[in-house]
């Protein structure tokens, strides 16, 4: 598993190294949404329903992660729509 971590980190560093400065904010909101992958763990803990406590903790964690997924992707998309190269006509 450490191997997986190392590999993923290297790929991440390589892929992100060249992001243009222009897109730093959308990049961060996108990675926000991606880091909400924590939802996977939250779903497992909640769905197993082993104890009341673990189910409730898991459910709160799902809600928190979902918030990030939804707002992260939506706001990234909203920002990207604004980046225009040419003179746009006034609507």
């Amino acid at each position: 598993m450490l191997f997986v971590l190392m590999l993923a980190t290297f790929i991440g560093l390589e892929v992100i190294r060249n992001v243009s400065r222009l897109l730093h904010t959308p990049l961060m909101s996108l990675t926000n949404a991606i880091s909400a992958i924590a939802i996977v763990g939250s779903i497992i803990v909640t769905g197993e329903e082993l104890t009341k406590t673990s189910t409730i903790l898991g459910a709160v964690a799902i809600a928190a992660s979902t918030t990030n997924i939804v707002s992260g992707f939506l706001i990234t998309n909203r920002m990207l729509k604004m980046f225009k190269k040419k003179e746009p006509g006034r609507s």
């Binding site: 961060m28 949404a33 991606i34 909640t46 769905g47 329903e49 939506l74």
Partner: protein
């Protein structure tokens, strides 16, 4: 069989996440990045729901609905508030990791399944998760100005912070060696929550872009730790991607301010300097919007340096009008964007994009500086520290060494400011007292509006 399907879906998701980040490199492929990310995330969720051990869907569906309900309004905030939203979102990420860590600990404890490896992973997960949670909340509070943006410092602060962190780690190690010392677990959580708050309190507003990047990284690492706890490779890879991106952005931000990580975390920045014996305080020259419009009109090249003050005053649309008026007259207008302009990495670019300023008119600091001496007018709107020449030569200045936009090298500098008070970092700016600088006092939106009116009134338009 189901397990194989899940693993396959996870594999595809991982690939799509990597592609998503890759497509984020360039504006013309960036929209695709979001689509890839959404598909990858949907896959991850569906793949997880297929797990045979998942027996109860009610709680999951309710929680998904609640999260969606909170998420949609959060995605509609004005773009000036994006840094706060981002900080909040890191807080949620940290919280999710921390809570899952607690849940797993108390599930495994009675079952006697707490191995040293599992306990270590959980400890790392809750420490990272909860310090990210409170730290991000503090950062959001500072950005919303609920918490004082000035650094809050006291004697022996670093010692206190380091001791807290060390104590949490020592307890974590002891717990991992013998999981029956379960009483340590809540103490570790409380320490992490406290550490998160104390870590952010001494950091001043000017360092926010760096802080947000670091917290971004921590949120990713917390997800990685969760992956180790649950032995889930998808969590590890996606978390690592986030951690890597936060790390890169932190490095870029630190470089843009010529400061080290340690310096950001431990050096309170921007305590008001007792003005160096200012016996020869020069006075600043001021100009009216009318005079400013005449100067701008007769220029052939103008470089606008926007800062956060522009966003606060909601002046970006007026700035766009100015850009249009001048372009119409054949004046070459470009925008010089400092890497740390605004309150998070790339913030200013987004604000200008929102105002429909074409992004090929935005120039990075390193590209514009060599051209500054040929520039007729440098028009500073709401930027302060990033154009302060003291950074180049005044060793006593707290921003000494920070790369700046060489606004002072332009033939004429015009700066809009409400008053002569120091900016966000609390540092005097000598640019305002330079011989070639004209100060235009007033609210940025009103002033730029006036200038535009002057320009459009002079036969430029109707």
């Amino acid at each position: 069989m189901i397990e194989t399907i899940t693993q396959l879906i996870y594999l595809v998701s991982t690939g799509l996440f990597v592609l998503s980040l890759k497509w984020m490199n360039k504006p013309d492929t960036a929209r695709r990045a979001v689509v890839a990310g959404v598909i990858a995330m949907a896959g991850a969720i569906i793949g997880t729901l297929l797990h045979p051990e998942i027996v109860n869907y009610l709680w999951i569906v309710v929680a998904l609905a609640v999260g969606t309900g909170i998420g949609i309004p959060l995605a509609r905030v004005p773009l000036t508030a994006v840094p706060q939203r981002t900080a909040l979102s890191h807080a949620f990420g940290g919280l999710a990791a921390g809570l899952v860590g607690i849940a797993k600990f108390y599930l495994w404890l009675p079952a006697g399944e707490l191995t040293t490896f599992r306990t270590s992973a959980i400890v790392v997960e809750v420490i990272l998760g909860f310090l990210t949670f409170t730290g991000s909340l503090m950062a959001a509070g500072k950005l919303m100005e609920i918490v004082p943006t000035r650094p809050i410092t006291y004697r022996g602060q670093n010692l206190v912070n380091l001791s807290l962190a060390a104590l949490a780690l020592v307890l974590g190690v002891l717990l991992a060696l013998d999981p029956s010392r379960a009483a340590f677990f809540p103490i570790i959580i409380v320490l992490s929550l406290l550490f998160g708050v104390l870590l952010i309190i001494p950091i001043g507003g000017a360092d926010m872009p760096t802080v947000i990047s670091i917290l971004n990284s921590y949120a990713g690492l917390a997800a990685v730790a969760m992956g180790f706890v649950l032995e889930n490779k998808l969590l590890i890879t996606a978390g690592a991607l986030d951690g890597a991106s936060g790390l890169i952005l932190s490095i870029i931000m630190c470089r843009a301010m010529n400061r080290s990580f340690a310096n950001v975390l431990f050096g309170a920045f921007g305590q008001i300097q007792a003005a160096a014996a200012g016996g020869e305080r020069k006075t600043a020259k001021s100009a009216s919007p009318e005079e400013a419009s005449q100067i701008l009109e007769s220029a052939s090249s103008v470089v606008v340096v926007p800062g956060y003050g522009m966003a606060v005053a909601q002046a970006q649309h007026r700035v766009r009008d100015l850009y249009e008026q001048l372009t119409k007259r054949g004046v070459d207008v470009r925008f010089a964007v400092h890497p740390v302009a605004g309150r998070m990495p790339g913030h200013m670019n987004v604000l200008l994009a929102e105002a429909e300023i074409p992004y090929d008119k935005l120039v990075e600091m390193d590209d514009i500086n060599p051209e500054m001496p040929q520039c007729d007018v440098c028009f500073v709107v709401g930027a302060n520290d990033v154009v302060n020449p003291a950074a180049r030569h005044d060793k006593s200045s707290p921003i000494f060494g920070m790369p700046i936009i060489d606004a002072d090298k332009a033939k004429t500098v015009m700066a809009i400011k409400r008053t002569m008070n120091p900016g966000f970092a609390g540092i005097e700016n000598e640019l305002y007292f330079a011989d070639n600088t004209l100060m235009i006092f007033g609210d940025a939106k009103a002033v730029v509006g006036e200038i535009v009116k002057e320009l459009s009134g002079q036969g430029g338009g109707h």
